[in-house]
């Protein structure tokens, strides 16, 4: 298991290193294709490679034409398997933090919560790997208020560090009847305004925490980005008056997230590496 993971990681890094060359070849092929289409002479720098590239252009189909980007390659196999999430806290959590983590367990489908106890992060990650978990989420707090969230994708995946602000938990709302129970169906996702490259990466990390939903579920999770602060909202909707009218009912916790770090491996937050590859 360990060696397999080492090998997988090395393959990933190697493929990522080839990306540069691939991109250059792709560019050249595109130039040649353009020149051929417009009937212009081929640029001089491409004359030598023109023959072989032209052969390749003919053999390409639409899947192989565009070069593969290896940025989110950690999630290449994610669509084949449903994600499995482990939720836990920092050491010695306070009662509000434990409640919050319980809520989060219901928010993420296919999630398990464990007590932290005195475990070291590397132990947790080892056990996760052996039980085929795909993601680990750690929640930190400050005097009862949750203030940090670390999302790690497990097979050598990326780690995103968020700070949590303006947290409102379901437990804070005293009136249980008003809130009702939380739906546990696989939700639809809305990821709004993630436009930059970093935004795309973060969106991918968040997206792959959830499984493929049924098309007609009523549960919506929203991650809306506004000036670098991501708002998390949890709604259930009803289309009562017809197809165009939508009534939203908010359930679940709401908080703002601020990304402050994304690392390539799954190094734990204390700085000692989970696996130095």
């Amino acid at each position: 298991m360990l060696r397999r993971n080492v090998r997988l990681r090395r393959e990933y890094l190697y493929r990522k290193s080839l990306e540069g060359k691939e991109r250059i070849r792709y560019e050249n092929k595109r130039k040649i294709a353009e020149a051929l289409q417009e009937g212009k002479p081929i640029p001089t720098e491409l004359r030598n490679v023109e023959a072989e590239l032209r052969a390749e252009i003919d053999l390409e189909d639409d899947k192989t034409a565009v070069p593969r980007s290896y940025i989110d390659d950690e999630y290449a196999t994610a669509t084949e398997k449903d994600p499995k999430i482990l939720l836990t806290t920092s050491r010695d959590p306070s009662a509000p933090l434990v409640q919050f983590v319980k809520e989060l367990k219901i928010v993420f489908p296919n999630a398990e919560r464990i007590n932290r106890g005195g475990q070291v992060i590397s132990e947790i990650i080892e056990s996760c790997r052996s039980h085929d978990f795909t993601d680990v989420i750690l929640v930190h707090e400050h005097r009862g208020v949750p203030d940090g969230m670390i999302i790690s994708h497990l097979p050598f995946g990326p780690t995103a560090y968020f700070g949590l602000l303006n947290v409102v938990t379901r437990h804070d709302i005293k009136d249980k009847k008003a809130i009702g129970t939380m739906s546990e169906a696989y939700p639809h996702l809305i990821l709004d305004n993630f436009n930059t490259k970093l935004g795309e990466r973060t969106a991918n990390i968040l997206k792959h925490l959830f499984p493929v939903p049924k098309p007609d579920t009523k549960r919506i999770l929203t991650f809306a980005n506004q000036s670098d602060y991501i708002s998390f909202r949890h709604h259930v909707y009803e289309k009562r008056g017809g197809p165009k009218s939508v009534e939203l009912r908010e359930i679940g916790p709401r908080f703002e997230m601020r990304l402050y770090q994304v690392t390539l491996g799954y190094r734990n937050q204390l700085g000692s590496c989970g696996s130095c590859l």
Binding site: A78, T79, E80, L165, N166, H188, L189, I190, L191, D192, A203, K207, H208, F210, P211, V212, P213, I220, T222, A224, Q226, S227, D228, Y229, S231, R233, H235, Y237, P243, K244, V246, L248, E256, R258
Partner: protein, 564 residues
């Protein structure tokens, strides 16, 4: 260009003389014209006296002031030199003057001599420099050339006379402006102050020394004189580092304020004046004392003003005021610079280095690289919900989609392969293949009919042979395959329960079912029975009918036969 006549030149000169000084401040074409004409006239008048000069006349048309001056310079330099030489010569040989200028009176002669002496002294006093050296050399030459030996005695004697009469002659040239003796003394005082009192003594010694030398009756007198003068002038050259310019302006160069406007209160005027000015400046720096001192200074100034025509007015002009203001500001700023800086201006300041709670009062300016935390208001929530609703209505979500499986392998096609043994032998198979290859016509159109014939379902009868038959003495070879499978034996469906397991309702249900069944069977039986009986009856009736019919027929036959 025509050379203007003498009269025109004189007229130009007079015009220049008559113009008011302020008119010189602005450049004026007419003035420059007249100035040029005048300089041309003067040049022309001087030209004959110069032995060799590159210019015969002064060229002024389209020439720069600098260029005109250069021309004049070229002309006058040698002229001045020669004049000086001559003057010196006459100084030593006063008799010659009488020859040259017989019309001048004795007083005038003495004046000339005195002037010469003073000139020389002035030269000495001023920055003598090279010209004096040259003059002395020239002097020596001149004296070699000119026959002076005979006149040395005369020169000596008259040198004595000149001494005594020096003091007398003052009335002639000098007026209230030009008190040359006073000027001299003043200058000496100044120099004494500058360079120490020894100089003054030296000077007087030199003077007297030179005079004594003149008294002697030696041939080498003049040489010594000259030497002395040389030495003096050497010394004075050393003392006064020279500029050549002053030599040319002998008459004008030594003019001082006092020459024009008379001396003020002895020689001590400049000092208190300077002090007054100092006093003013220092007082202007300190606002508190300004008024007191300035009033004093003003008083002094006023006194000065009364004595001399002082340019400084009692009330300060605007410019003066501005200057004072600026000066005071400068003073302030310089003072502030010298003070230690406030803590806000010092680089890194910890809490210990600044007064208590001072950071609260100051407006500190940080660079924030993080945007401020958003406050979640109603509007924010509204806008978020709007976005969500829109997405729901559109049906556009950002879920992950299951990737379509890669068509790596085509699904296996399972052909229905017959597992039974082929009826044809292999030889027959080859035979058919051969025939097909060689003669397609001969081969039957398709093999499928034969195959169909061959694929006959083997029907075998399977009877429910009890297993116990196996245990007979002469066991019949009954294989398992011949026997029926349990499901073929069992004729029930669903959840089979034994009688003991049944609940009451179930038992009742079973019984009712049984009865229904039985009844159904019974009715069927009855129906069939009935049908049979009906048939029998019908048959009977039929037969009866038939019998009756046959009976009738017989009767008929009999009757018929009877008739026969």
């Amino acid at each position: 260009m025509g050379r203007p006549s003498e009269a025109a030149g004189m007229e130009a000169l007079h015009q220049l003389k008559s113009t008011e000084p302020p008119q010189w401040l602005a450049p004026s074409a007419s003035l420059s014209e007249s100035a040029r004409a005048a300089s041309q006239h003067l040049f022309a008048s001087l030209r004959p006296h110069v032995r060799k000069s590159p210019f015969d006349e002064l060229l002024v048309d389209n020439f720069d002031a600098e260029q005109i001056w250069q021309q004049i310079d070229l002309l006058t330099q040698p002229l001045v030199r020669s004049i000086r030489r001559r003057v010196k010569h006459w100084e030593k040989n006063p008799a010659e003057i009488e020859n040259l200028l017989p019309e001048v009176a004795d007083g005038g002669k003495k004046v000339a001599q005195g002037k010469k002496m003073e000139e020389i002294d002035d030269d000495d006093d001023d920055d003598g420099g090279d010209m004096d050296m040259d003059d002395d050399d020239d002097d020596d030459d001149e004296e070699m050339d000119v026959d002076n030996d005979g006149e040395q005695d005369g020169g000596k004697d008259e040198g004595d006379e000149s001494e005594e009469e020096e003091e007398e002659k003052s009335g002639g040239i000098e007026d209230k402006f030009l008190k040359i003796k006073e000027l001299q003394e003043h200058l000496e005082d100044e120099e004494a102050r500058h360079y120490g009192l020894d100089a003054k003594n030296k000077k007087s010694k030199k003077k007297s020394g030179s005079k004594k030398l003149e008294d002697e009756d030696d041939d080498s007198e003049e040489g010594e004189e000259d030497k002395e003068e040389d030495d003096d002038e050497d010394e004075e050259v050393d003392l006064f580092a020279g500029g050549d310019d002053e030599d040319e302006e002998d008459e004008m160069g030594n003019a001082r304020y006092e020459d024009f406007f008379g001396k003020k209160k002895g020689g001590s005027e400049p000092k208190p004046r300077f002090k007054d000015e100092l006093g003013e400046d220092s007082s202007s720096g300190e606002e508190e004392k300004e008024e007191e001192l300035s009033s004093d200074d003003d008083d002094d100034e006023e006194e000065d003003d009364d004595e001399n025509v002082n340019k400084k007015p009692k009330v300060l002009s605007t410019h003066e005021k501005e200057v004072q203001k600026i000066k005071s500001e400068i003073e302030k700023m310089e003072k502030a610079n010298l003070d230690p800086k406030t803590w806000t201006m010092q680089g890194e300041v910890t809490a210990a280095n600044r007064p208590k709670n001072s950071a609260l009062e100051v407006d500190l300016d940080f660079e924030h690289n993080v945007r401020p935390v958003p406050v979640i208001t109603e509007e924010v929530t509204q806008s978020l919900e709007e976005i969500i609703k829109k997405r729901i209505i559109e049906g556009q979500f950002d879920d992950i989609k299951r990737a379509p499986g890669l068509p790596s392998k085509a699904p296996r096609e399972l052909k229905p392969v017959d597992e039974n043994k082929s009826n044809k032998g292999l030889a027959e198979v080859y035979e058919e293949e051969f025939v097909q290859q060689t003669d397609p016509a001969a081969a039957p159109l398709s093999f499928s009919d034969e195959q169909k014939k061959e694929i006959i379902e083997d029907m075998s009868i399977q009877s429910n042979v009890p297993a116990l038959a196996m245990e007979e003495i002469a066991p019949v070879a009954v294989s398992d395959a011949a026997m029926l499978a349990p499901e073929e034996v069992f004729s029930g469906k669903g959840n089979v329960k034994a009688e003991v397991e049944l609940t009451q309702t179930e038992r009742k249900r079973r019984r009712a079912k049984k009865k229904r069944k039985f009844k159904a069977v019974e009715t069927k039986k009855m129906a069939s029975k009935k049908a049979r009986e009906d048939e029998l009856r019908k048959q009977k009736e039929g037969t009866l009918l038939v019998v009756q019919v046959t009976h009738l027929c017989c009767q008929i036959n009999v009757m018929l036969n009877q008739k026969l």
